[in-house]
């Protein structure tokens, strides 16, 4: 009262505008609390990074991982993290003057590079990398450290004769006894003896690479056509059974998983908010009937019906969004209705009515901003549950289909080759778990920020 008087009386002595304490709105307050919540902010940052990776799949695939989602690189089995493959599409060419000069690759010197020579070149290339001491021969420890060699789970190691036949379709195994079968008498392997541990490309991949470089399609490269060979790139998270780069697929999977999460959450949001708000506003019999419908639907085994729906109509991405979105709106409708009903009776709404604020004004300036908190919180917490539902369906083979992929589908593929390539399910499951965890932390943080009463 005093302050106001002083203001109307003109500027009093020692008064400055800066002395006025600016009021903080609910949202500013909430934002400040959210910023302070480390778990929620970490979650937010992770989700934003995942989202960026998902949006930037194309450039990341071209310039980052250098592999495409559906690009297959056959090896005897899935390649472990850190192994190398030669990309077909997004490759950098090696400098055609040094190690990869035309004459060096063209071993028989007939002026033409064949796919056989390309294969051989990559064997030498890989050999030089895994031969870490550079003495031109491979010791057992270098063999074990090579990305393509595998720890052997065999109880009884075969004799050298059996191993000779068996190794044709098995990844190089890192047991000294087997190593000695192939190594020379000095206990070292030469390039010729190393076998599949240096097999960066197989014959069919070598011809594929040749085809991409071969301008006149005559099945061989001449020195005019030759501009270098593609640089092998690392599969940072390994490959799956078809030799597809796991990291690339994980990034593409982020796109599908996050998109389904956001869109389906949006579908539930729209249905739930309109249903709940209508019931709350109208009240009476309409409200009663509408909420009875919600109660009844709570009793339905929705996921079971969605499984049925997807198995009947399958392969439709749109249906997937709608089906998952349509099952999550019930709680949203209840929350919104509860909010609307309790807010309708509040004094500030009455006060707004008294001073003649229009109905639209009340809805948009008073009801919605105040009801928004719980709605935002619930939507944030809905995204992970929707993502989980998508992953669940994809895991059953009822969601996303090849050539596209999602984390759920990758987990399903990973499960089938869990013994030989556990990194596929660990990577996809890990990505899913980290994202769900982040979104849950973010949702909890938002709830604490918007509803200070729950603060401990």
């Amino acid at each position: 009262m005093n302050d106001r008087k002083r203001q109307t009386d003109g500027k009093p002595e020692g008064w400055d505008r800066a002395d006025l304490v600016e009021g903080t709105s609910l949202w500013q307050d909430a934002f400040r609390r959210l910023i302070k919540n480390q778990a929620a902010m970490t979650g937010l940052i992770i989700v934003v990074l995942m989202g960026l990776a998902a949006i930037l799949y194309e450039p990341i695939s071209m310039y980052g991982t250098n592999f495409r989602l559906d690009e297959q690189h056959q090896f005897i089995s899935a390649k472990p993290p850190g192994a190398r493959s030669v990309p077909f599409y997004y490759y950098d060419l090696m400098d055609p003057t040094g190690e990869a000069a035309f004459d060096a690759v063209d071993e028989d010197g007939n002026g033409q590079i064949t796919s056989r020579e390309i294969e051989q070149f990559y064997r030498e290339y890989e050999f030089d990398i895994i031969d870490t001491d550079g003495d031109g021969k491979l010791s057992f420890s270098e063999f074990v450290a090579a990305p393509l060699s595998r720890p052997s789970s065999l109880e009884n190691l075969p004799s050298c004769d059996v191993w000779d036949i068996k190794k044709q379709n098995a990844a190089p195994l890192e047991r000294r006894k087997l190593f000695m079968c192939d190594a020379g008498e000095d206990g070292y392997m030469t390039l010729r003896e190393t076998g599949d541990v240096v097999a960066l490309v197989n014959p069919s991949e070598a011809s594929t690479i040749l085809r991409f470089l071969d301008d006149n399609d005559d099945g061989a490269l001449t020195s005019e056509e030759y501009a270098g060979l593609p640089v092998p790139e690392t599969n940072w998270l390994g490959t799956d059974g078809l030799g597809r780069d796991v990291l690339t697929r994980l990034i593409y999977g982020a796109r599908i998983s996050l998109a389904v999460g956001l869109l389906a959450a949006f579908v539930s949001f729209v249905i739930g908010v309109s249903w709940g708000a209508t019931a709350g506003f109208l009240g009476g019999t309409v409200d009663n009937i509408m909420m009875r419908i919600v109660d009844t639907m709570y009793g339905l085994p929705f996921m079971i019906l969605v499984i049925l729906l997807m198995s009947v109509f399958g392969q439709s991405l749109l249906l997937l969004f709608v089906a998952i979105g349509a099952i999550r709106w019930l709680t949203m409708a209840r929350i919104v209705r509860g909010q609307v009903i309790s807010l309708k009776e509040q004094e500030f709404v009455e006060a707004a009515e008294t001073i003649g604020v229009s109905k639209t004004g009340i809805i948009f300036k008073h009801l919605i901003p105040n009801a928004l908190g719980p709605i935002i919180v619930y939507t944030t917490l809905m995204v992970p549950s929707v993502m989980l539902a998508e992953a669940f369906l994809s895991f059953l083979g009822l969601g996303i289909r090849a050539p596209y992929t999602s984390w759920g589908l990758m987990a399903s593929e990973g499960r089938q080759m869990m013994g030989s390539a556990p990194w596929v399910i660990l990577a996809s499951g890990g990505a899913l778990a980290v994202t769900l965890l982040s979104l849950n932390f973010l949702g909890d943080g938002l709830r604490d920020a918007l509803d200070p009463q729950t603060e401990d």
Binding site: L305, S311, F392, M418, L432, A433
Partner: protein, 345 residues
């Protein structure tokens, strides 16, 4: 109370009716039917055996059934058509697929399996049900046994290292989906993998075989219940009556068990209904991962196979379990919390 129970029974029957109708309609919308993989000559006979040669419902749009060449399908004695809407005469309603199925269902017969020769759905699902039920109840029990004590422990020691550790574990439990957890458990504990080799990786012959699937299914709910319980405890310990109980010198253990626990348990009890529903769905995946002969395995397989009767049978069993359990949970709720007045609901 009696009125409430009666009303619940009526609405449960209504829910089941909606589900049967919806799933009957859904299965018939599929692009192929169970007879399509038979040899050409058999399609007609097969469709007649399973009565697929007639309209699903008394009213339909467009064509009722895809005709099979050289095959005389069922014809209603009277029918109308109003533009695109076709309708069987009232006297023939009993001969449509829907009513025939309902007639069977009322007698407790789920019909013959359309893919497994000479087996009935009752027989097949009857064999599978015990596995699914045992898995579901074991998981529910495990979730409660782990979840409630863990939540109480964390809540009573709020903001200590013990609290943070328990809740971090619970958070991770909520975030790791069961279809990731299952394979990881197999990798770590099953025979034939690099891990410890304690359990068989699949199948279900002894109780031991059910341990990994139960853990896989239960962990998420254990974590969630722990979070719920902790929240409940934190709310309760601030209540005046708890302070009074402490003030009059009751032992801490008595305060916890007699005064705080009841209020804490309430949200957990009301969560059990949805939890069991989600567990049933989750068991579909867990059964696949561990190769268990439960209903979920049949359900997914027959949904893709278009074994109509099996699919609807499985859906009916899932829904009945769900409806029954929700009912039990609501009754249990009144017993724990006398404030709940069912006459209003």
């Amino acid at each position: 109370m009696t009125r409430y129970i009666l009303r619940r029974i009526v609405s449960s029957i209504f829910v089941l009716l909606v589900i049967v109708t919806a799933s009957l309609w859904l299965t018939r919308q599929a692009p192929s039917n169970p007879c399509q993989k038979e040899k050409e000559a058999n399609t007609c006979a097969c469709m007649k055996t399973f009565k697929l040669d007639r309209p699903t419902f008394p009213v339909w749009f467009g064509q009722a059934v895809d005709p099979v060449e050289g095959c005389q399908f069922w014809e209603p004695e009277s029918s109308f058509s109003l533009g695109p809407i076709n309708m069987v005469g009232l006297s023939d309603w009993g001969d449509t697929q829907y009513f025939l199925y309902m007639e069977q269902l009322v007698q407790g017969d789920l019909g013959p399996s359309m893919r497994n020769q000479n087996r009935t759905v009752n027989e097949l699902l009857g064999q599978a049900l015990p596995y699914t039920l045992q898995l579901g109840f074991q998981a529910l029990l495990l979730a409660i046994i782990i979840g409630i004590p863990a939540g109480m422990f964390a809540g009573l020691k709020q903001n200590t290292a013990a609290d943070y550790t328990t809740m971090t574990v619970a958070m991770v439990g909520v975030a790791v989906p069961n279809f990731v957890l299952g394979p990881i458990l197999i990798l770590l504990f099953a025979k034939g993998q690099q891990g410890l080799g304690w359990f068989d990786p699949g199948g279900w012959d002894t109780f031991k075989d059910s341990i990994l699937p139960t853990i896989t299914l239960a962990l998420y709910y254990a974590a969630y219940i722990a979070r719920l319980t902790r929240g409940g405890i934190l709310e309760m310990v601030r209540k005046d009556f708890v302070r009074t109980a402490r003030a009059k010198g009751l032992k801490e253990s008595t305060v916890v068990t007699r005064h705080t626990l009841k209020g804490t348990i309430l949200p957990v009890v009301s969560y059990l209904g949805p939890a069991f529903a989600a567990m049933l769905t989750g068991s579909v995946v867990v059964e696949q991962i561990f190769n268990l002969p439960g209903i979920g395995t049949y359900f997914v397989e027959s949904a893709l196979n278009r074994d109509y009767n099996m699919v609807i049978g499985a859906v009916i069993i899932y829904s009945s379990l769900l409806v029954a359990l929700n009912f039990v949970v609501d009754i249990a709720y009144t017993m724990i919390d006398p404030r709940v007045d069912y006459e209003d609901r």
